[in-house]
Symmetry: C2
Subunit: 888 residues, 2 copies
């Protein structure tokens, strides 16, 4: 028979901290603390299995649950000496949710359960404190009314305020026991009026009501949103913890507080916390009274005159400090504690791994490893690799006041504030004049790159996490919020609308790329600082990881940043980014307008020296490290302007009529450019483009080899190939160019020709592709787009519904979809190796910088990941974590 | 040691007809005929392996080839008594290509090889006919000069004409032996002048030159194009046949001719052919002299006075008639023969399976089976299922004169001529006025459907074989040529340009959807007639096939056509096609413009009765047969108009401002609609749409069940699902609608809910999908688009390059890409069955009507295919062929 209820307390504890999945985090840790002899009020946990049962069986419970709960209550009664529903010495309990992962404040809690008219009177007598008893009762009615019975809690608050106003009082504490008793009557009337049913007097009915409310709250909107944002599956469910109440509000020998075993902001190894004398836990959180510092040292630092716990209750503090040491040694991690002191006795109500800033996480991990509390591997695994980004970018000052206008997708981390500009040219202009600007666009295209570079941040109304704006912003390290669908543009007035706000060019705006928020006006930001711990962790990570880490970069700036962040090569140089400079786009457009090979070759001849120079710079910076260069990838129409005027200019420069230019543009336009005439399809139809690029690569490599002595290692990547034949046709051109350049220069450069595996067919036919390709680089962006049939530029309109509906709980463009896209990567790896066992395998999609995805890439055995320069540190750490996990 | 050369002749034959891959069709059949004792001039075949070697080794030959060729020549000499290069009695040979598949006229042939100044003189003496010898020599120089030495053959023809003019002669036959000798000298001068090298006198040099030319011709443009059009892989290569010459031009006891063992046009079982007295084979083909009928019966029918072969050479005819019987009995198929009579002796030069019209193929197959020459299975396999379409559509009169303007893709079979119209509205208007029109568009969209229906044919400049125009045209049975890239539109003048022709609305044009040709003016067409053999074959096919055959149809017309053609149900009813009628599109657009659920529901309420009526008609026609209804699939923006004026109308009807309508349209527009907010993503974000459609289906089903007593079998298909959760969410809506309608009507309808497997992830995760889906219908169009990353609407710009370059030798939208897309279908089948062994499996992409693809679907074990109504007969036949092949 399944056991549904797990006790904890002096009379026996059934669980421990390893049972987090079954008991939830809170329940497992209460059991653990109880098990190691810490002072925990007795109680029991109803397991998450019951939650699953509850949702699978139309909100009903297993048959045996009732009996188990009754038995567990008896155990509490035995330890506390009180009795549930006993008017003489009533047992009061708290009912709290507790999921596997911490979801603070997301679900419901009911305190003081067990009070009714009779037991309240009994409690008043037993505690000899009528005010305490009826304060507890009216709090219980309010909480229970709100949480279980769905009464608007504002009504209770209004009643309390009314009473204070009538009595001419300011603080709740000034109300007397009689006032509280009167409030209880008013509260009960509110319940009756609102719900047409009296407030339940039967403690058992109360208990089952509260348990049901906690389970039901698992799927409330707040919780569902939190789970989505934090990648918590709905299937995990929550446990329910029922525990004897202890009271921090029975007099001045009572207190309640929260503490961290180390400083959660800085990571410093010193006890940190806050408490209130004579208060219930909710008072600390509610902020009605200002909590006091825990330690004397902190009190001094804050300049407060009120005594710290250390000073006010030295014995209790000593006991708590001891608990601190025991818990940190026991859990081997910084703990976040809740405690209550009832009439001089310390009770521990919760311990859990404490949340911390990225900076603190880093420092704690390094210091704990140096203290031998944890191993280096553990230290590496303690840090959220994805959060490492925080350390490299400005963040919003949490203390700053802000007005949130709307929320988009957190596309590229960092906070930025500046003046709104609506075009790339204007961004460049204003930035040149010394202004800090935020570029606001419907969406961006390669033509906007100079403006994105000039801006401090980018905000778009359309596009997902891997839209052009997002990818480029991450590459440049610019803050970016994408797909903020509420942002609308009025072309006539040149104004933008966000909800009901009207903004113009020049107005100040702030964006937070870490969470997608958009704020009105300027919000203060905090600049990042990199600690010594950062360097230490990176060193340890490099020692531990198996995966190589490269960067996606094409400019010298990006390449240098990548190198500084520890990239071991370039995994993706997108050559098309090199064609958008003003002097180059002209030649590019001439090539597009040419209607024969000769015309194209003439235009390409102009591009050759520029492209060669680009590669020379890259090769020089990378000093012999591998550089993967992808041949021209986007469809040609991306290089054409959109307006008729600009097209007329193109026509003139290219020596064709406006009508011809228009015809050509129309002919090039595509219904689905993502699936269009792009990638190696360009090289197949216009081999002269491939030829020019190959020549530029080899000429640059030879020149750099001769000048610097560092022989470059180009890896030439054929994009979008789905057949071996496509690669072999491109390879013919590449090999011919290599041979020709070697003949001309006398320098021989060793190089690889490989392909980007970014189509399902390419993975399926990987064995065949590997006959030609010397390396594969998985292009997981396009592989995700094609495998899932989702355009990353258009996903904004439905992907959040998909997250809400638990269809793709995690954005598949952020973290790899293991079942679908992952299957294809794995198949590509296996099949590629059947033909060419030593084939070099990498990944250069956006997933290359995502920790969960990197873990997957370690599992399938890729050789390296490649990501945006700013994500290189995170990738190094994630690669180490993946290696650790994989060796476990 | 590999054997490269295979002899045939009285002294020994190495090959037979089973060795077609190695010896080519011609070589294998020469060996076979020789083997069964028919009179074949001796010779040998150089295998296709040599061709492979030749291309793999930089146009060189295997070491041992020379010795094998010399030995084979010695054998010919022994049988003929003549000797190669012997001036006294020279052996002359022909050198001909012969590939595995017949490629008539595509590659090169050299006759009379072995002649030089000396042997020509010897031949004149030996044959006692100087004119014959020098005529042969000058023909040889011309052919060899043209084929091997690349001399412009016009120069030779000019010289011949010059001589005739000088001599005042009209026919070649009037030239004397001396004239021919003089021509030989002139021809040799031409070669010297053009090529700076004398005409080779060494017969061995001539032989190797000719062999090399044949191998080289395998990759000439003509041959490459032919291969592409006929799906012949380049890797097959060609064989070379070297054979002793026989002469039909040595006097009036000589003749040459071609014959078919049955009539290739009608299929009638009567000997049919043409011949010329005193001529070489090329004369029959060249059409300089009009060939005469073979039999007396035919001569009478033609009203000719010249004697037939039967009358002119009764003994030879009897011998040939005997060969006819022997060959048909031997090959068990209609044969296409070439023969030469040299001085009263019959020689067989070729036999091969004869090409035939679809009509003839049908009749022969049925009659041969009834004659017990072949089995019914063989009869079924004798007919090209894809060509069956010819029988259902008009074809161009082959005798009509025509001016080809350009060529596009053969998107929907049938020939049509009519007046050009450039818009759907105009098409409808003119058709209503009794005109036959061809709708010419850049591309079509769902808004053009009424115009496509009104038109006799559709011509588009953009789009591939599965573009909107192609799919819809095939569905409607309209002729269609797609992706004719040379067609340009001048919006200002309203004219269209094709190459250098300017055409206007109202000008006559003719299109041939069977081959993609576009002709100026009206070209006569021939209406199809269906014979009794058609019905017989269909009956046999139905008895033999395992696969069910359904049709893709949504209109009552299409459904009725499908039923008449033998469809067993509807495999795909695209509900969106039902929303484009003038009265419906308004409500549809109101729904799109609504910005909340209530607004959408109000608009949907208007659509409900219309949609219900559609389903009632379909269910009534299909009378209990399964009807698969796909929920709304295309992105909503497809229902919005494109011009500002029209959008303003939409705004007015929908009660929103023009600006709001514009904003909504902008917000809905997508970069890659194919991968956008469509399919079940619509149902997830707007469940009210799914709800309305489900209700319409069940209301219609209940109504029809009550009225007709035939209980409909709706199979409701959730499109574009890639996760089980998507299906389950839609299923909730569908099940709720079913329950509600049953409660209202008291009628219970059994139905299935399934999904369209059209994304790679769906195949990969098919086991999971099958937990929810009761059937899968593979949407191979979209599966091809996503697996290969090719937009069918944009593929026109590169797919022909891909065919030319042998990357995708067959258009993957026409015939399924087995390696890539096929793998996914197979995986989807296998994985789907692991979860639900009895899952119903079908395919409703365009491949459902393609014979090769149907063969694949049989192999992987689908339950049914679904295709355009007009392809149903072809699919029935192909399904039978597939069953036969699969049981072999």
């Amino acid at each position: 028979m399944t056991k549904w209820v797990y006790n904890f307390g002096k009379l026996g504890t059934d669980g421990d901290s390893s049972m987090r999945n079954l008991l939830g985090g809170k329940g497992a840790n209460l059991a653990e603390m109880s098990g190691i002899g810490l002072p925990v009020p007795p109680g029991f946990t109803i397991s998450t299995d019951v939650c699953t049962y509850f949702y699978d069986h139309n909100h009903t419970y297993p048959d045996t649950l009732d009996a188990e709960v009754r038995a567990a209550i008896v155990k509490i009664e035995a330890e506390t000496g009180s009795a549930f529903a006993d008017p003489k010495n009533p047992l009061l309990v708290s009912v709290r949710s507790g999921a596997r992962a911490s979801m603070p404040g997301m679900m419901d809690t009911v305190l003081n359960l067990g009070l009714n008219d009779e037991t309240a009177a009994g409690l008043a007598k037993h505690a000899n404190d009528s005010r305490f008893a009826y304060d507890s009762y009216r709090r219980f009615i309010q909480m229970y009314g709100d949480v279980v019975m769905d009464v608007d809690h504002g009504l209770f608050e209004d009643a309390l305020e009314d009473m204070k106003r009538e009595r001419g009082l300011i603080n709740d504490t000034d109300l007397t026991g009689d006032d509280m008793m009167a409030l209880v009557a008013i509260y009960k009337d509110i319940v009756m009026e609102e719900m047409d049913t009296p407030f339940p007097q039967d403690p058992w009915e109360q208990l089952w009501g509260a348990i049901g409310a906690v389970f039901t709250s698992w799927t409330n909107t707040r919780a569902a949103t939190y789970r989505r944002l934090n990648n918590i599956p709905a299937a995990w469910g929550t446990a329910v913890n029922v525990q004897a109440m202890v009271f921090g509000n029975m007099g001045d020998d009572c207190a309640t507080g929260v503490a961290f075993t180390r400083d959660p902001s800085t990571g410093e190894n010193s006890f940190y916390g806050e408490f209130l004398i004579n208060a219930q836990g909710e008072d600390v959180v509610a902020g009605i009274r200002t909590p006091l510092p825990l330690t004397a040292k902190e009190r001094e630092k804050s300049g407060s005159s009120a005594a710290s716990l250390q000073e006010a209750m030295p014995e209790v503090f000593a006991q708590l400090d001891d608990v601190r040491s025991r818990l940190e040694a026991h859990y081997r991690d910084m703990q976040d504690l809740e405690f209550t002191v009832q009439q001089g006795t310390l009770y521990m109500l919760q311990t859990r791994s404490g949340k911390r800033t990225a900076e603190a996480a880093l420092r704690m991990a390094v210091e704990m490893a140096e203290e031998n509390l944890i191993s280096r591997d553990e230290a590496l695994c303690r840090i959220d690799a994805n959060a490492l980004d925080q350390l490299l970018h400005p963040t919003l000052d949490p203390k700053a006041e802000k007005i949130c206008l709307t929320r988009g997708l957190p596309a590229s981390p960092g906070a930025a504030c500046g003046k709104i500009v609506l075009s790339a040219d204007r961004a460049e202009e204003m930035a040149a004049a010394g202004e800090t600007v935020i570029l606001v666009r419907l969406e961006t295209s390669p033509e906007d790159i100079h403006g994105m570079h000039a801006a401090a941040g980018i905000l778009t109304a359309r596009g997902g996490m891997t839209s052009h704006a997002a990818v480029v912003a991450r590459g440049m390290g610019r803050a970016c919020v994408c797909g903020a669908g509420d942002v609308r543009f009025d072309q006539v007035s040149g104004k933008i609308f966000i909800q009901d706000q009207v903004l113009s060019e020049g107005d100040l705006i702030t964006i937070d790329g870490a969470n997608g928020d958009v704020y009105a006006g300027a919000v203060d930001t905090i600049q990042p600082k990199m600690s010594g711990a950062f360097g230490t962790i990176m060193k340890w990570a490099d020692e531990r990881r198996r995966l190589g880490v490269r960067a996606n970069a094409e400019t010298t700036t990006d390449a240098q940043v990548a190198l500084d962040f520890g990239a071991e090569g370039i995994g993706l140089c997108r050559t098309e980014h090199m064609f958008f400079d003003a002097d180059r786009i002209i030649a590019m457009r001439q090539m597009i307008m040419a209607n024969n090979t000769e015309g194209r070759e003439a235009a390409l001849a102009k591009l050759l020296p520029m492209q060669r120079k680009d590669f020379e710079s890259l090769f020089t910076i990378m000093a012999g490290r591998p550089v993967t260069i992808r041949l021209l990838d986007p469809p040609l129409h991306e290089f054409l302007p959109h307006s008729a005027d600009e097209l007329a200019e193109v026509a003139e420069v290219s020596g064709v009529t406006v009508e011809t230019a228009r015809q050509r543009a129309v002919k090039l336009s595509e219904s689905n450019p993502m699936l269009g005439h792009r990638g190696c399809r360009l090289a197949i139809t216009y081999p002269e483009i491939c030829r020019m690029q190959a020549r530029a690569i080899f000429e640059a490599a030879c020149a750099v080899a001769q000048t610097t002595g560092d022989v470059p290692s180009p890896e030439i990547m054929v994009p979008l190939a789905a057949t071996a034949r496509e690669i072999s046709l491109c390879k013919q051109e590449i090999d011919a160019a290599a041979a020709a350049v070697t003949a001309e220069t006398g320098v021989s450069v060793s190089y690889l020709v490989g392909t980007m595996v970014e189509l399902p067919r390419s993975s399926i036919c990987a064995a065949e592709l590997a006959e030609e390709a010397e390396f594969f680089s998985f292009g997981t962006n396009d592989l995700t787009q094609t495998a899932l049939g989702i355009s990353r530029d258009d996903a904004g309109s439905f992907l959040h519904h998909y997250a809400d509906a638990d269809i793709y709980p995690v954005d598949p463009f952020v973290s790899i979809d293991r079942e679908g896209v992952g299957f294809l990567v794995d198949m590509g790896v296996k099949r590629g190796r059947t033909t060419r066992p030593d084939i070099k395998l990498g990944i250069c999609g956006e997933h290359g910088g995502d920790a969960d995805s990197i873990c997957f890439f370690e599992e399938v055995g890729l050789d390296y990941v490649s990501c945006s320069p700013f994500r290189v540190p995170a990738a190094r750490l994630a690669a180490a974590q993946a290696a650790i996990k994989n060796s476990a």
